[in-house]
Symmetry: C2
Subunit: 349 residues, 2 copies
């Protein structure tokens, strides 16, 4: 698809900066300067370059630009999975906000595996990302070391602890777990169950659990009256976990779930087993997903501002680019949304 231009040059496919310079009658350096808004260019020259670029439909080659300038305007994000709305929405907020600043987002998933996260992060560095957005505080030490050496700034989300990162955007998972505990204590509950997410390699799940338990024990609840199980975030697992909890004697008067996903599974089990919610057992979730308002009874849960977190992560990342070497912590509020799945403690039987 070669074609002959007005001035006789033969072009094949893509137009390069050289072509623009040729047509504008200047050097590639000047053309480059104009196109990059460099000020020291005469207005006449400038005009010609711009016109030439427009006529030729010039599109800069980002690979060359990136290679040369060592800057790609690329941001990497590694999340556990796109199947969970909270992560997907976070990425949505991130992407949208970054797009306004001309940055693009390369996405990848780790499936809650810190080792996979490490690999993904390396690949992203190879892609030339200048910053990387990770979920949580806990990561493979090598991941962070590698990123640091590569000069890639690190933004942690879903946590407001900075750890070894450059920025943290999120909330205090421990505090959130504690707030649920306090709420349930106030309602007079005495025996507690928890269906936590898998805590291995997941600081969010760990802290929610720890904050919950610590607050209960500080309030005088015996450790034997707190029974904790772990389950991957899937409805089926919530159901099975609830079943095991409901088979203990005496059974908990309330169950706190590390995610709404688990909570709806738990409620589903109760329905099938003839256990009344909240009369027999109160259930609390986490995340405030859309489903929270769709189950019967509606789910008491902790609202997590997923989209806002993505937007705030974008802001943090942008500021990090401006002042290199600074640290940013943005704490976002969570709040307990009380709905029908919780009530006063069930009568002892």
């Amino acid at each position: 698809m070669a074609r002959i231009t007005g001035d006789g040059a033969v072009e094949t496919g893509v137009v390069k900066l050289k072509d623009v310079a040729l047509r504008a009658g200047c050097s590639v350096a000047t053309a480059s300067r104009v196109l990059n808004g460099h000020p020291t260019v005469g207005p006449a020259e400038k005009e010609r370059v711009l016109a030439a670029a427009a006529q030729l439909g010039y599109v800069p080659n980002n690979s060359a630009r990136a290679l040369r300038s060592q800057s790609t305007s690329l941001v990497g994000v590694v999340i556990p999975t796109l199947d969970h709305a909270i992560y997907a929405k976070m990425v949505g907020g991130l992407q949208e906000r970054l797009a306004r600043s001309g940055k693009a987002v390369i996405i990848s998933t780790s499936d809650y595996d810190l080792e996979r996260e490490r690999m993904q992060a390396k690949l992203l560095v190879g892609r030339g990302v200048e910053s990387i957005v990770l979920v949580g505080l806990e990561h493979h030490p090598e991941t962070l070391e590698y990123l640091r050496r590569a000069g890639v700034s690190q933004v942690f989300t879903y946590t407001c602890e900075l750890g070894d990162g450059d920025a943290a955007v999120g909330f205090d998972n421990r505090l959130a777990g504690a707030s649920v505990a306090r709420f349930l204590l106030e309602r007079g509950h005495t025996r507690f169950g928890m269906i936590a997410g898998v805590t291995r390699g997941n600081d969010r799940a760990t802290q929610r659990r720890d904050g919950f338990i610590a607050t209960l024990t500080e309030a005088g609840i015996q450790r034997q009256d707190i029974i904790v199980v772990e389950a991957p975030y899937r409805i089926e697992n919530g159901r099975a976990a609830m079943q095991s909890l409901m088979q203990t004697h005496p059974r908990p008067t309330t169950v706190f779930c590390g995610s709404d996903i688990l909570a709806v599974g738990a409620i589903k089990y109760c329905h099938s087993a003839g256990i009344a919610v909240p009369e027999d057992v109160s259930v609390v979730g986490f995340d405030n997903l859309e489903v929270a308002e769709l189950v019967t009874p509606e789910l008491t849960t902790v609202d997590v501002p997923a989209r806002e977190m993505g937007e705030a992560a974008a802001d943090a990342l942008l500021r990090l680019g401006e002042k290199k070497g600074s640290f940013i912590v943005t704490e976002l509020p969570t709040r307990l949304i009380v709905r029908g799945s919780t009530g006063p403690a069930a009568a002892r039987r």
Copy 2:
């Protein structure tokens, strides 16, 4: 933060091919050959290069590789929104499958706006993507023209019509709508409502609606016994739309919703208004989201293989790269999942 390695080299930041060659005691050419699986390398040399690369944690610089080889291994995807699970999951499948082939995914969103989609597509081309994954068949003509000129192959998803694209991976929305109509006819329904998604610029919503209506009219249903409203995919809108449908006289014995999101809103309205589902009115959704099994009664819906679609899109895109200029159509099956929200037609009142 330079550090001294065992063999005395000073490293700053990222490991380059030169570093690997140095440590392996060979030339960069040889190292390159080994890392690219070029056959003509002695096994001893090969071993050393691989070891060196592993020890140093070498990651190729994609900008350089892209510049040299004129190929970026970058794929762009534009979806309406990451807030809806079907799109998020599709992207998840796409990303995961492409990662295996060393391709990265740059993501962006259009918010169901074809004009925004056009802009995003242009930006992606500027980023050097070699293929682009779009949702649906209908796009701004300029979008497709631009992509074609830039040599970017186009994969459409959620449709199995090729249109002006190079590949289509999805299902027949019209047929899916028709299958719902047939199912409801068999159950003896006589007056039909539909809460469709917004059809403007959305061929999926349009075709689901058209297939539904066409099948009904072909079966002898009068057009006045089919009432259709449109609503953006949000629970609240489903609720409001259902309210308006339930206020017509005589009211429909069944309502087909263009998405489970709308359907759960519709069911929610029924609960609040004392309308029994499915006794008073049957409800059918679309997508088979997780919520479909969580509402009461559970939702009859059309299962859409979102993740598989992403994976199939990746496959199509890969094949497209191999045989330039070919066309690929992959039709994925949908199936009607019958649950408790549908029953025989309600008794006439």
